[in-house]
């Protein structure tokens, strides 16, 4: 067993874990956070996407011990005081989901994408989400949601608006 110390959704965690424990299983089974889903389990589908030090990663392909000393954020950690994160609100507003299985991963990948590129084009959103599969093929509304979230986060109505309606 190995002692790991990290923050999960801003809270300090300290646990004894088997080195082979995957981060997604640590989050789901030790921390009780069930947003990150185990989908393909082969680094393909992105359903297990979380943020590690602010960057999107697939938690089925990260060992919990590799996250020791770092900051992990799951979809549960996005909303504060019951207020949805702008990306979550945009997914809801634009119906960026069908069955919902890919949604936590899509939301986290989108949060990571917008942190790196706050004003993406539609093409950049589609390429930026290439690591996330929607088994319902509901991509159009997901892309609309990310573009709307970018607009909402920018706050300024001048700049890059209207792109969502025009190109999505």
């Amino acid at each position: 067993m190995t002692r790991i110390e990290l923050t999960v959704n801003g809270e300090k965690q300290s646990d004894e874990v088997e080195p082979r424990l995957l981060l997604v299983h640590y989050l789901r089974e030790v921390c009780g956070l069930r947003a990150a889903n185990v989908g393909c389990d082969t680094t393909s589908c992105g359903a297990c996407t979380v943020l590690l030090d602010g960057q999107s990663v697939k938690s089925c392909t990260v060992l919990a011990v590799q996250a020791s000393g770092h900051h992990v954020v799951t979809a549960e950690g996005l909303s504060a005081d019951g207020e949805l994160h702008p990306v979550q609100a945009a997914f809801r507003q634009n119906h960026g989901l069908q069955c919902g299985f890919c949604t936590p991963g899509m939301v986290m990948a989108s949060v990571g994408l917008l942190a790196e590129n706050p004003h993406p084009t539609e093409e950049e959103v589609r390429v930026g989400l290439e690591g996330n599969l929607c088994r319902c093929t509901g991509y159009h509304n997901i892309v609309r949601a990310v573009l709307a979230a970018a607009e909402a986060q920018a706050e300024a109505p001048a700049g890059a608006p209207a792109e969502a309606e025009v190109t999505a």
């Binding site: 082979r20 680094t43 992105g46 697939k58 011990v65 390429v127 290439e130 690591g131």
Partner: protein, 270 residues
Amino acid sequence: MIPAPFEYIAADSAAHAVALLAEHGDDAKLLAGGHSLLPMMKLRLATPGVLIDIGGLSELAGVAADNGELVIGATTRHADLASSELVRAEAPLLAYAAAQVGDPQIRHRGTIGGSLSHADPAADLPMAIVALGGSVQIDGPGGSRLVSADDFFHGFFETAVQPDELLTAVRVPRRPGVPWGYQKFVRRSNDWAIVGVAAVADRIALANMGSTPLRATAAEAALARGASPAEAAELAAEGTSPGEDMHADREYRRHLARVLTRRALEHECG
């Protein structure tokens, strides 16, 4: 899927990692981003008894200029390579290649040293290093040695790195403004190349046309004789031995090599 049990040791330094390799021998594997190793361990295709984690060693990460070369630390992640201003200016093909690996999540974790050590012949960075005429720094119990990219890849998933050695850095020539082209033929956006071609000036490297990344030597020789890109590209598949799978048979891969080489020599990226 759960990996088989193993002992986990976080190395304090590159020298410590080399000492740990000497201590544990064949039973140990190095872990950095883990994006080739962990999927293999989950499938139990790899069952190392000891994992030596070098992912947190800052001495092995980052890009620096050293006279006529860029020196890229082994644990530099693909996303950092792709966004490095120095790499984009002086070895732009390498930055472009790093941006083609997998998807954003994979690029946040995967490292250049890991990709080269894994040596998948269909991967982006092995082909890029061969096209750039780079070299690889390897540390072991006997000290440090430098191996050229042309001599680094020995076979399918086999390299010059010995079980007691650590790949510490990658060196590529600084060549701002040199024309280059990059072609990666895939069916899915985050997949490995069915065939890939990278060209830097008169050097041409092929991905997935054999058990290692290959130079298109006949096409390079034709260029040296003054052939046009289109004429040289007709020779791109000479001397290659591509495999067959559900995506492409051998003849189709040879066809792709010719077409993609012409595009790469015309400095197209795609």
